[in-house]
Symmetry: C2
Subunit: 550 residues, 2 copies
Amino acid sequence: MADVSPISTDQSDARPAITTGAIRGSHKTHHTTESGLKVPARRIELSNGEHLDVYDTSGAYTDDQRHIDVHSGLHRARAGWADGRENRTQLERARDGAITREMEFIATRENVSGELVRDEVARGRAVIPANRCHPESEPMIIGKNFLVKVNANIGNSAVSSSIEEEVEKMVWASRWGADTIMDLSTGRHIHETRESIMRNSPVPVGTVPIYQAMEKVDGDPAKLTWEIYRDTVIEQCEQGVDYMTVHAGVLLRYVPLTAQRVTGIVSRGGSIMAAWCLAHHQESFLYTHYSELCEILRSYDVTFSLGDGLRPGSIADANDRAQFAELETLGELTHIARDHGVQVMIEGPGHVPMDKITENVRLEEELCGEAPFYTLGPLATDIAPAYDHITSAIGAADIARAGTAMLCYVTPKEHLGLPNRDDVKTGVITYKIAAHSADLAKGHPRAQERDDALSKSRFEFRWNDQFNLALDPDTAQAFHDETLPAEPAKTAHFCSMCGPKFCSMKITQDVRDYAEKYGLTSVEAIDAGMREKSGEFVEEGGRVYLPVAE
Amino acid sequence: MADVSPISTDQSDARPAITTGAIRGSHKTHHTTESGLKVPARRIELSNGEHLDVYDTSGAYTDDQRHIDVHSGLHRARAGWADGRENRTQLERARDGAITREMEFIATRENVSGELVRDEVARGRAVIPANRCHPESEPMIIGKNFLVKVNANIGNSAVSSSIEEEVEKMVWASRWGADTIMDLSTGRHIHETRESIMRNSPVPVGTVPIYQAMEKVDGDPAKLTWEIYRDTVIEQCEQGVDYMTVHAGVLLRYVPLTAQRVTGIVSRGGSIMAAWCLAHHQESFLYTHYSELCEILRSYDVTFSLGDGLRPGSIADANDRAQFAELETLGELTHIARDHGVQVMIEGPGHVPMDKITENVRLEEELCGEAPFYTLGPLATDIAPAYDHITSAIGAADIARAGTAMLCYVTPKEHLGLPNRDDVKTGVITYKIAAHSADLAKGHPRAQERDDALSKSRFEFRWNDQFNLALDPDTAQAFHDETLPAEPAKTAHFCSMCGPKFCSMKITQDVRDYAEKYGLTSVEAIDAGMREKSGEFVEEGGRVYLPVAE
């Protein structure tokens, strides 16, 4: 690195505070596995005495029992878990028939059996991105038979951003539910930024090593070499990076297939490798040195995220020959990596109209041996910059339902500028919506519990419970406060949409009370008994709803 | 009406200004039909000398050539179009084989043949909501073989809002693309609010007449009568309401089917009718007087929007027996209305997980003779209050792709409070995204033109063109300004995400130039020619991208 400047402690006063403390209406709890591992969850306490435990990605930052010091980093909970088997990856251990501690932890976290976790990892249909040099991380799994995961990209750039801001972005993104983060920093201080993130991240961290390699050759792709790239990968493995995007499928012969596209090559890594291939008229060094790369990743148990360097950047370019030619090569590379015992997931588009989404998943599964698919959206239309978190959530929900295992978020600033703190939160929440919608549609065993708890609280006018069960309790309450700020309104049996005299939920509750009172819970019962009961009902009140606040 | 207070002109100073003027980067244009009708469109001028005309719902308010006076209302352009056939509906005229002026106008607006419009209307697979007493409206069509439409709900409520604000909300919603609006006002001044909206609305207006009928009985559903309801419907027909939600499918015997639901009956109209049925132990007067109602609507050519009073209000209640029992009755009512020559569309849910969406459309088409489906979202999950524009856009895009003809928008305030101006805009833009995503997926002939134009401008760094082609140019530019406010950045060949030294689009352009220069546009060509050309390429610059702003 040309310009190394470690974080000096005397800068700490100027640093933005790291967000800590439990999310509104909840607190950290732990579920204990058979062998005694503590698996974190977030417990939402309800006003009716019930509670709901939900999946928790936020780490120690939301644990009021834990002291946070970003200089010393998080507790290295996984240190020693490998238990003398340092040189076996999760994939190899799974094939051995072993349920590792990571798998045991994940089984409790996902409410499934350890054997299911092991089997899915052994098949390569799920990955556990857990570099042995990142013992601060809480194990998680990415695979179509588990909860759909969300990744948030953070990272500084040549234009703005500081190291301190990036650490807080990681904390902030995982607070709201990001399952992994990718550090896409470019420019100065890449190594130090990443070191700060790694030591403080409870979630797996992914990178695109070629970005840092480019810094080492002063931004000239033609000067890249295998050796420079390899050394960068080793540097990042040593720091604990859990998965790496490698654009090894951008082959020389595919590059001209992009020439007639509306938006050419939009992947940074893809365009760098395309430039290198053309400049040297050689096959990509990522492809020719791929087996060496596999051995490096294997020795740390770093997971490949095989990048789609030729992904479509517009609706017009979706599912074209360049995209699918590369996907075929990614399939070849998947099998090579697995032969080396390395875990693999596959990156996907991008921009795809809804009618072409399913084909992406089917083809990926077929060509890549069902390796977990990890897609960027995709955006279902190009016409709404400033709303691309939404255009892409539509595609993301659809592609996740079809089998995509992890979704890379898109923020409202996509295509326009750098996301700020609010944009990161909006992006994460939007993608939690897409992921959860897919979990529901896929029938994930316990996914609907939260919907049911929230809808029940809504129906029973337990406003605070409704807020607390929401993905974003703070904004839900703030919106309610805008119209009805008074505290009594949080328990009032009406809402601002209809006002106190005209509330459908109140009417329904009365209908329900009535039906239950008279046993009118079926078509038969109402046919038999309605006529005589009707008289009593009118006597008892004349109307089925009464104004609450008159 | 108990408390009639017409809008006095001396209040006009306090009134918020009506939003007028063209949307950024565009101006009103007109396409002329064969018989000389002027069909509005919005022309977006591009910096490369090209332009794109897009569908325009905004009426005279965005026409710089027109003077707006909300007191005198819009020009009554359709007055006299019926041409001596005042007592024939669009459906009857279509069956007669006639292409009405409305159909001719719509054919040009949708870029299809007049015969297609006529045929779809004759089959009942499309409706033209165009009350003869609303001559200010610009004809539009709702049907699965046309562009997917978006409705925006506006309306005051018992808690807040003024008449003036409602007119501006209508102008504001149609400015951003609402194809119809529904006036859901309750409380005082319903008649006057609606009159102001009708006389100023270029888009069809829908209502739920039972809301006003409830005001006439002081909010007590048991006191409702057919006569009060009928008179309310006639009053609204005379004002020019184009379509009316009628919850005539809430039958006495279906009500108890909702008792065990998580969220009972969430439709206001549905709960009112359920309360009435139980109180009287009689079949709904909407059902027993349905033929009379058909005759009233026929005489104005008002379109039925048969309401789903028993729609699910939560994921748990989706596709249940109550919902589908009512749908079956809506099918029966559809055929009766058509026999009377009345146009019909069918309202749909609500809250539905993605795996249950398609079944809704197939069943609606089967039971209701392919009458246009008009759905509220649906929300694909319940867990994100404050983001329900997004949860529902996911469902809306999916259900539109499956054949839903019109989508009722949901704003971020859904379930929490009353939408303000920003919420209305966010809701409309979000639903234009869902509708357009479906248009693309359905292969609507010219839908992709806008995506292609925007992506091309993005690729060519024509930033202002990208903003202007966006659904919301103002926000797109504002987001860009946040990171790179300087005017030169609007033409710079880089963006803030990568910075000037590291831009994938710039690299791609260089790859393209290179491939074109050497004819390397196919796998064969590159196999044959790459080796020798590579040398020249390196000589000519050594690297394929050059920093723009170093």
